[in-house]
Symmetry: C2
Subunit: 147 residues, 2 copies
């Protein structure tokens, strides 16, 4: 238990962030719940552990984390930002039925398109939208029931 906390502390320090209770709790939450949570998801999940927690602290912490490269902010077709603890290049699939967000790997050989020759590319977002296999199976079952 204490070891875990120390690992989390080191993780933050390595990223040039002073550890604090809130920051450790948020980091722990993100590592245990790699579901691309929104600020509100994080807030609601930590509220019973930390009853004085404020939403502003979540935003402050996430801004700090994003600036130090601990999380990547992801923008899907929704108005809330989401936070991804996995900052390595990968794609996201959002199912518009269950709203779940799936990760998928991206072949590393993305070559710069000719049109962007001379551009500096710092970041890449690849988002797919559709229906996941789970939800597709459910739909099929419903069709059967309805005849």
């Amino acid at each position: 238990m204490k070891d875990t906390v120390n690992q989390l502390k080191e993780y933050l320090i390595k990223h040039d962030i002073k550890p604090s209770t809130i920051r450790l709790k948020i980091l722990e939450y993100l590592l245990n719940n790699p579901i691309h949570p929104t600020a509100d998801d994080i807030y609601k999940s930590l509220l019973d552990q930390m009853p004085t927690l404020s939403k502003t602290s979540i935003y402050n912490t996430m801004d700090l984390f994003a600036g130090k490269g601990v999380v990547k902010v992801i923008s899907l077709d929704e108005k809330e930002a989401r936070y991804d603890i996995n900052t390595c290049l990968h794609g996201h699939f959002k199912c518009h039925v269950c709203e779940r967000i799936y990760d998928f790997p991206i072949s590393c050989d993305i070559q710069t398109p000719q049109e962007l020759e001379g551009f500096a590319i710092n970041d890449i977002d690849i988002n797919f939208y559709g229906i996941c296999q789970n939800c597709k199976n459910k739909e099929r079952r419903i069709w059967k029931w309805n005849g």
Copy 2:
């Protein structure tokens, strides 16, 4: 002039949309300004032509257009939605210096990643972020000036 209006009318009708003054003006604006405008961009640009125009009408029209496939809503790393009159698959590059958004083609041979086998993919967003050539050149010039 009239011919153009008729072409615009037909374009809407073909997309199952009843033409109206507002809809035609917005469509015309989008075709003449393929700059991925926000609702506010469109509103401000049309306000002098149509002084009674309301922001709500822009949102209504864009929702209608998006539903009928006349525009694609694009979500970049900003809170406002943008609208793209080009609904064919292509990528976007946003320069974080000049904020301009560039289009670039995507090689058609995007194969479904194994992880998404059995998923229905309805839509793909590919967004790159960085500094465009223009702004990079300007930066270089500033370095020179500064010594």
